[in-house]
Symmetry: C2
Subunit: 412 residues, 2 copies
C-alpha cells in the first residue's frame, strides 16, 4: 500500500486527556481518534490490527468447533425481562425507546439473545452440544470512560456461548476455550495469567479472567510465588505477604488488565428463559450454558501497552498492520525510486504486506512517523541504492544492517 493513499494522521503531541502510554501512542500514531468520551474511530492502521486480531480469534475458535454468527446490538426489553436483568443491570446499560415507545437496550452482552436464538431449535439432546460466537460492537455507559480503549463506552468484543447436555460437556468446552484463549493471546504477543474471579453481573457458578500484567491495569491480582494459584484480589481477599491457600508459598500482588473472561453460567438463563430440551429420559431439562468474552479493542490496547520503545509502537509480528515498511529517502533520485518500487512490487507479489512511504516529506519526518507506527521490518532506501543495497532494521531486535535488496526476503 502507498502511504500517500492510506490515512495515517500522525501527531507530534498526544491529546491532553490521553492518560496512559498506549492511549498516547495510539493517538499519536494515527491508530485511533476520539469522537466523544470513551468513543473512538479506528483509523485505517488501527483497524488493520483489529482485523488481524479478529482473524486469529476466528482461526482458533473454528479449530475447537465453534461457529460464528452475528446478533443485533439493539435488544428488546422483553428478553431482558425474561432473564430478570432489565431492572438489575443499572445505569451501565444504555437504554432507548423506539418511535412507538417500546424499550430497547444496546447489548453489553448477549446471553438473552443467544438463548432466544437457540431455545426454539434445540428440542432434543441430539442437537447438543452447540458452541456459537460473534465478533461485535458492544455498549456500556461507563461512569468514567478512561485509559483510551481500556474503559470505552463502545468497544469490540468476541463473545461465545456454549450449550451442553451435561456438566461434563460444559467442563470440556471450558477447557477448550481456555486453551484457545491462551493461544489467541500468545499470537497477539501477550502473556496472560488465568485468575479465578467473581461472576458479577453475568452470573453463574464459576468464572476465570485472563489478565495481562501491566502497571496501568485496573485490577489487582494475587498470585503465589511457588504454585499456579492466581486470583483477582476482589475474589481472593488475600494480600501481599499472605500464605498461599494451595501450597506453602507466599502471595504477591500485581496490577492486571483484563482481556478475557469465561463463565460457567450453568442454567441461570436456560431456567429463567425456558431454554429446555428433551433429555435421554424424554423429560425436559435446561441447557447447561457457558459464556466466553474476549475484549478485542482491549487486546489491541494491551498489546501497545506492552510493546513499544521510546520512539513509538513496536507491533508484535502477527498483528502488525503491515510486515515491511519501505522508506525511500529521496524519491527524486532515480536509483532510489527504482529500487524502492522494485522491492515493493517483489514483496507484494510474494504475498507480504508492505507499506511504502511515497510521500513528499523530508527524510527526518518520514523516520519519525516510521518509528511511531512501528511496522516490524524497515527497509530504508538511500544513497546505497546505486549498489542495490538498503538499510534493513528488525525493529524487535533493534539491529540495523546494510544488506543487498535481494536478501530481504530471507531476513523477514
Amino acid at each position: 500500500m502507498k502511504q500517500s493513499l492510506l490515512f495515517v494522521p500522525t501527531l507530534k503531541e498526544a491529546p491532553k486527556d490521553a492518560d496512559v502510554k498506549s492511549h498516547k501512542l495510539m493517538s499519536r500514531a494515527g491508530i485511533i481518534k476520539q469522537v466523544a468520551a470513551g468513543i473512538y474511530t479506528y483509523l485505517p492502521l488501527g483497524y488493520k490490527v483489529i482485523k488481524k486480531i479478529e482473524e486469529i480469534i476466528r482461526q482458533e475458535l473454528d479449530k475447537i468447533g465453534a461457529s460464528e454468527l452475528l446478533m443485533p446490538a439493539l435488544q428488546p426489553k422483553d428478553l431482558w425481562d425474561e432473564s430478570g436483568r432489565w431492572d438489575k443491570y443499572g445505569p451501565e446499560l444504555m437504554r432507548l425507546t423506539d418511535r412507538k415507545d417500546r424499550d430497547f437496550c444496546l447489548g453489553p452482552t448477549h446471553e438473552e439473545v443467544i438463548t432466544q436464538v437457540v431455545r426454539d431449535y434445540v428440542s432434543s439432546y441430539k442437537k447438543l452440544p452447540l458452541a456459537l460466537y460473534q465478533i461485535q460492537t458492544k455498549f456500556r455507559d461507563e461512569m468514567r470512560p478512561r485509559f483510551g480503549l481500556m474503559r470505552g463506552r463502545e468497544f469490540i468484543m468476541k463473545d461465545a456461548y456454549t450449550f451442553s447436555e451435561t456438566e461434563e460437556d460444559l467442563e470440556r468446552w471450558y477447557k477448550l476455550f481456555t486453551k484457545a484463549y491462551i493461544d489467541i493471546f500468545k499470537r497477539c504477543g501477550l502473556d496472560t495469567k488465568i485468575v479465578s474471579s467473581d461472576v458479577g453481573q453475568i452470573g453463574g457458578d464459576e468464572a476465570d479472567e485472563f489478565m495481562v500484567m501491566s502497571e496501568v491495569g485496573e485490577d489487582t491480582i494475587t498470585y503465589c510465588d511457588k504454585c499456579d494459584y492466581a486470583a483477582n484480589q476482589e475474589h481472593s481477599l488475600l494480600n501481599s505477604g499472605d500464605k498461599c491457600p494451595v501450597c506453602d508459598g507466599t502471595i504477591h500482588t500485581a496490577k492486571g488488565i483484563e482481556v478475557g473472561n469465561i463463565f460457567k453460567l450453568g442454567t441461570k438463563y436456560s431456567e429463567s428463559m425456558n431454554g429446555k430440551f428433551a433429555g435421554r429420559d424424554g423429560k425436559p431439562q435446561p441447557m447447561i450454558m457457558g459464556c466466553y468474552g474476549l475484549g478485542i479493542s482491549r487486546t489491541l490496547m494491551a498489546s501497545v501497552e506492552q510493546h513499544s520503545n521510546e520512539d513509538g509502537i513496536v507491533w508484535p509480528k502477527e498483528i502488525a498492520p503491515f510486515k515491511v515498511h519501505i522508506v525511500p529517502i529521496n524519491l527524486k533520485d532515480e536509483d532510489q525510486y527504482k529500487l524502492a518500487y522494485e522491492i515493493y512490487e517483489s514483496l507484494k507479489s510474494s504475498g507480504i504486506e508492505v507499506l511504502i512511504d511515497d510521500r513528499a516529506e523530508r527524510a527526518g519526518s518520514k523516520f519519525k512517523d516510521a518509528d511511531l507506527i512501528g511496522i516490524p521490518f524497515r527497509v530504508v532506501v538511500g544513497k546505497d541504492a546505486k549498489d542495490l543495497k538498503v538499510e534493513f532494521t528488525d525493529r524487535l531486535k533493534g539491529e540495523k544492517e546494510l544488506v543487498l535488496a535481494s536478501e530481504i526476503l530471507t531476513l523477514i
Copy 2:
C-alpha cells in the same frame, strides 16, 4: 465443516409475517432469525454469506485506492448540530441519552463523523485526495419494518466518503466507485441498473442509485427502451409510455430494490462543519465530498430474491456459504462412510469450502435441507460408493450425473 457442529436451524414452515420470497427462504434455511420487528440475528450460514459479500467489497474498494476504517455507531448530538441535521432528520434517527443526560444518536450514516475525523488532519491540498470506507452496522427506526432484510431497523452497510480538492477529482472518484459497484454486484450474482435519483436526507448536488430489478422492489424505475436513460420515478416524474427525455425511445417502468446509492455531496458538510484546507493559492477552501453507500444485508436479500428454485435457495457461486455439500445417505455403511470422508478431506486440503452432512437424519430429510440451503455443488454418497462413484449435481445447471469420486475436483 461438519453439519452437526454448524448451527443450521432449518424450518418446514416460514414464520407467518414473512411476506416476500427471500424472507421466507432465509427464515426456513437457517440464514436469519428475527429478534424484534426489523431486527435480525444472522445465523452461521447467513453470516458466512455476509462475510463473503464484505470480502468482495474490500477487494474492489482496495483496488481503487480506498482505505478501510471503523467509526462508532454512537454519535454525539453536537456533531449533528454542526451539520444542522439533528433537528431535520426526523423520527428515523434513533436517539438516546447517556447517564449524564447528553444526547446521542445511533448512526444511520456517517457524514458528520467522517468530516470530524478528516478535518483536523487535512490542512493543505497536499493531503488530498482521500477515500475512506467502513463496513458497519447502521440503525434506522423504520415506521414499518418489512420484507425481512429490505427495510430493517438494524442493518449492515458499507459507506465510503471521498475528499477532493476539485470538482474534477470528485468526478473521478464518482466514476471509480460506479465501476467498483458494478463489479461488486456482478460478483454477488446481481444485475443492476444505475438510475439517477433525488439527494434526499443526505443532501448534495447529484445522486445515483443501483437498482436490482425485482417485483418486490419498493421503488419504481423509469427507463428507456432504446438508450441508457434510467431514473427513479420519484425523480423523473415520467410514466410508462412517455417519450424518453434523451432520445426518441419510449419510457417503461419496473420495480427495483435499491442496493447502493452514491452522492456528490459537494461542500454541504465541509462548509457547515468547517472542513477547510489551504488551497494552492494559500486560501482556505472547503473539501469537496462524495459519499457512497452499499447495503450489505440488502444485497444478501436481493441475491436470494433472484436466485432460488421451488425447493430452496441456489446461491451464486462467489457468495455461497460453502462450495460443495457432501450428503452421505447412510453413514453406517462402511463404504459410504469411508468415501464421504475421503472426498471431504481431499476437497478441504485443496482449499475448497465443503460442508458434510454427518447428522443422524434420514436421507429424505437430509435432501430437503440440502435443497433449502442451496450450496452450488452437491455430492450424494450412496449405494455406488462401493464402486467409488457418487451422484454429482451442479445446482445452477440442475443436472445430476453419476461420476467417479476422483473426478469431482475437475467438475467444480
